[in-house]
């Protein structure tokens, strides 16, 4: 793979990794909001489950970046 194509792919993967990071950040904000305002804890539990899924998603995307770097 040419260096330029590899860089483009890495940039795309980094961009994709921001998706789950964004979900983690917003769901963490939601948990904070629930705790601070004494809202139903089910909302917080659901948000925490989403954070766990997003962490795994993010980890896979980071692995993709790592694999691409090895290949290039």
């Amino acid at each position: 793979m040419s260096e330029t194509a590899s860089n483009t792919n890495i940039r795309t993967l980094i961009h994709d990794a921001r998706g789950p990071l964004n979900r983690i950040s917003m769901n963490a904000e939601l948990v904070k909001m629930v705790i601070e305002n004494d809202l139903p804890k089910e909302k917080a539990v659901l948000a925490l489950e989403k954070i766990i899924v997003a962490c795994q998603d993010c980890s896979e995307k980071l692995q993709d970046i790592s694999n691409l770097q090895k290949d290039s």
Binding site: R23, M26, M33, K50
Partner: protein, 445 residues
């Protein structure tokens, strides 16, 4: 309450963002692509659109175009996952368009939605509001972004803040930002502890009763009372006489003041933001601030970076200052690339204040009929680093004061402006050195 349209193809993100936006008291509708967004816009008007930059059926910029063509009026916040396109987006930004970079936080959304109401309140602001953080701070450098985060965090608390930084970095502006970002309902009251006489400082801070001292013709409220439910900014707090500091401590601890000459205690409720241009080391070594007062005031200390540490902000600041002058005077002077490069080369020892003055000086020197700003070839000031190369220059006939001033200048040069080391070399206390510098006036501020 605002009517918000959230356009993003990440359904999990829009789901959680909706919860947060609704919690902030706004109504929100969701579109997963441009087509859906256009459908919403056909039937409904929105106050604010949060718009993902990259959508499955095109760029968010297409929607901005469509809005412009249809003549619909809404504030737009572009959301991007590419920090690298920030520069491009900031170029697109106008009075009604700004941007956020993922990952987002609740404060980000809160700030852009709140900013809209601030814009409505001040439609004639001379600087582009989207370039102003908290309505008053300019800069996109990492140091400033970290500062904005600290301001946001502390603004949500009632903690007292101590602002530290060199002269001219904008401590009062940061105090204003903390006040604006807070939920305070009262005013921001500013007082300069270095400008008050020792006799009147108690009256200024705590107020006085009628007849408390000669000239006290009426009852007066002190700044603590005037800042009720708001923010009290104590500038140059380290200039407060040490024997007055126990009185300040008492108020900070008890949240009660007694007017000079009075007996009744008055409850006070305000956040105290204090400022000093002394370093923590100087505070400790020179004993200019009591330790107990320091810990009450500096619950959350914030260091404001010097301008030379965030040179990437110099063009933004310079452009903003010039835009302000152009607006005030109906001119259209411009800063060219070479001007910006020249401004970025200089060290700006007097920080943002010195930069503002340099732009103002250049503005005065320029021909208002042209667009060329007449920047001087040299920005040297008494604060300039390059003055370090000057040799000690003492001649017969000079006054003792001039010689002393020259000696202090040369010593400070020798020790890279380290006041403590200079005082040691000169055989005087650091406090005395500061007193001399203040007396000369041209060394400080």
């Amino acid at each position: 309450m605002l009517n918000v349209l959230l356009v993003d193809d990440d359904a999990e993100f829009t789901d959680v963002a909706c919860h947060i936006i609704e919690f902030l008291g706004h109504e929100v509708s969701v579109a997963g692509n441009l087509k859906e967004a256009n459908q919403w816009l056909e039937h409904q008007s929105f106050d604010h659109i949060l718009l993902d930059f990259m959508l499955p059926d095109g760029s968010g910029l297409h929607l901005i175009d469509d809005l412009k063509k249809s003549g619909k009026d809404a504030y737009i916040t572009l959301i991007t996952g590419h920090p690298s396109v920030k520069g491009m987006l900031s170029g697109l930004c106008g009075p009604k368009i700004n941007y956020l970079v993922k990952p987002l936080q609740r404060e980000d959304i809160e700030t852009v939605l709140n900013r809209k109401s601030q814009k409505r309140a001040t439609p004639n602001t001379s600087l582009h509001s989207e370039s102003l953080h908290f309505g008053c701070l300019i800069g996109e450098s990492p140091q400033m972004l970290a500062l904005y985060q600290m301001i946001e965090r502390v603004a949500n608390t009632q903690a007292n803040v101590m602002l530290m930084g060199e002269s001219g970095v904008g401590k009062e502006v940061v105090a204003q930002a903390i006040h604006s970002a807070s939920k305070a309902t009262g005013p921001l009251v500013t007082t300069n502890c270095g400008a008050m006489s020792k006799e009147l400082i108690g009256s200024e801070l705590f107020g006085h009763e009628k007849g408390a001292f000669t000239g006290a013709v009426g009852k007066k409220d002190g700044v603590f009372v005037r800042a009720e439910n708001g923010t009290l900014f104590l500038d140059e707090v380290t200039e407060m006489p040490i024997d007055m500091q126990p009185n300040l401590l008492r108020v900070l601890e008890s949240k009660r003041v007694t007017r000079v000459g009075g007996t009744k205690e008055i409850d006070v409720n305000c956040r105290v933001v204090s400022a000093t241009n002394r370093s923590v080391e100087e505070l400790a070594e020179d004993k200019i601030l009591r330790e107990d007062v320091y810990f009450r005031l500096a619950v959350f200390p914030i260091n404001i970076p010097a301008l030379r540490e965030r040179k990437e902000d110099i063009p933004l600041l310079a452009q903003a200052f010039l835009a302000e002058l152009n607006q005030e005077n109906g001119t259209s002077l411009e800063l060219k690339e070479e001007h910006l490069a020249k401004l970025a080369e200089y060290e700006w020892p007097g920080n943002v204040r010195e930069l503002r003055h340099a732009i103002h000086r250049a503005f005065i020197m320029s021909d208002p009929k042209t667009s060329d700003l007449a920047l001087p070839s040299d920005f040297q000031s008494p604060f300039g680093q390059s003055s370090k190369s000057h040799a000690t220059n003492i001649a017969a006939g000079q006054t003792i004061e001039d010689v002393e001033k020259e000696l202090i200048r040369a010593t400070l040069e020798q020790v890279n402006d380290n006041k403590t080391a200079a005082a040691e070399m000169l055989g005087i206390s650091t406090k005395t050195l500061y007193n001399r510098l203040h007396a000369y006036g041209d060394f400080e501020e």
